[in-house]
């Protein structure tokens, strides 16, 4: 019985640690303010860029 409780507690502790460590999924896109800004961040973090060229008419 004691062994089962201990195993359960270890599992629970593991799950809690995992949930803290897991990278939280974003719920919206954080847009860079300009292409210049995006290039600066991308260069610092060595990440690619997605640039959306849009027009309303």
């Amino acid at each position: 019985m004691k062994t089962t409780i201990r195993a359960g507690m270890i599992l629970l502790l593991g799950l809690i640690i995992l949930s803290f460590c897991a990278k939280k999924a974003p719920n919206k896109i954080e847009w860079a303010v300009s292409l210049e800004d995006a290039l600066k961040i991308a260069s610092e973090k060595d990440k690619p860029i997605i640039a959306d060229f849009w027009s309303d008419g």
């Binding site: 919206k28 896109i29 860079a32 995006a38 997605i50 060229f53 849009w54």
Partner: protein, 223 residues
């Protein structure tokens, strides 16, 4: 894209590893010109130095968007990748079409024309179903370049080759449009009127009637 693709969770998830930025193309004309933006929306995937990996031209749904971006990041289906594949398979109409389309999306109209012409050459009877599209695109490219006489000839040739194509009705409209732009208002009016008679239920009826109104005064003056 704003209200659908960019709010989908699978696209949002990409933002963990990719920097997203929006550019209002008509305001940021210098940047738009630098990246040869041909139309909207255009999404460009760049490396961390700002060099283009490839682009998505036109609207795409979220799932397709994610697949294309993931492929591009692996070097799959990029312009360079498709070029290499076509070099290895120079008779492949589908690859030629993809190349032409990619060049058109970059405003590289001469290269796009080259590959559209290649498609017609490879498959003159349109067995692969791309040649009518290619001929129509060749005519449209002349229109984009504002060479109305060349566009007129190209649309006429398209109609001669593929009168039953689903793009035929559009070509029938562009022919009088090209006549009008080239200064032959009489021929333009005649063909617009003919269009209204042969396509009474066309969604373009109003547009054609507007064009007729625009042209009428100039022909009245010459009468």
């Amino acid at each position: 894209m704003e209200d659908s693709t960019f709010t989908a969770q699978n696209v949002i998830n990409l933002s963990k590893d990719i920097i997203f930025v929006k550019t209002e193309a008509k305001k940021d004309t210098v940047i738009s010109h630098r990246y040869n933006i041909a139309g909207f929306p255009t999404v460009i995937l760049m490396n961390s130095s700002g060099e283009e990996i490839d682009r998505i031209y036109g609207y795409v749904m979220a799932d397709t968007f994610v697949t294309i971006i993931e492929d591009y990041l692996l070097g799959i289906n990029t312009l360079d990748d498709v070029k290499k594949k076509f070099e290895a398979n120079p008779q492949d109409v589908e690859l030629a079409f993809r190349l032409a389309d990619k060049y058109e999306g970059r405003r590289a109209y001469d290269s796009a024309s080259l590959y559209y012409s290649k498609i017609v050459e490879l498959d003159p009877e349109d067995q692969k179903g791309k040649s009518d599209d290619a001929l129509y695109s060749l005519a449209s490219l002349e229109l984009r370049k504002k060479d109305y006489l060349k566009a007129l000839d190209a649309f006429k040739y398209f109609m001669q080759k593929f009168p039953k194509s689903e793009m035929a009705a559009d070509a029938e409209l562009y022919i009088p449009y090209c006549y009008a732009k080239s200064g032959d208002t009489t021929q333009a009016l005649e063909l617009y009127q003919k269009f209204l008679t042969s396509h009474p239920d066309s969604p373009d009826t109003e547009w054609v009637q507007d064009k007729i109104k625009e042209l009428k005064p100039s022909t009245d003056k010459t009468d």
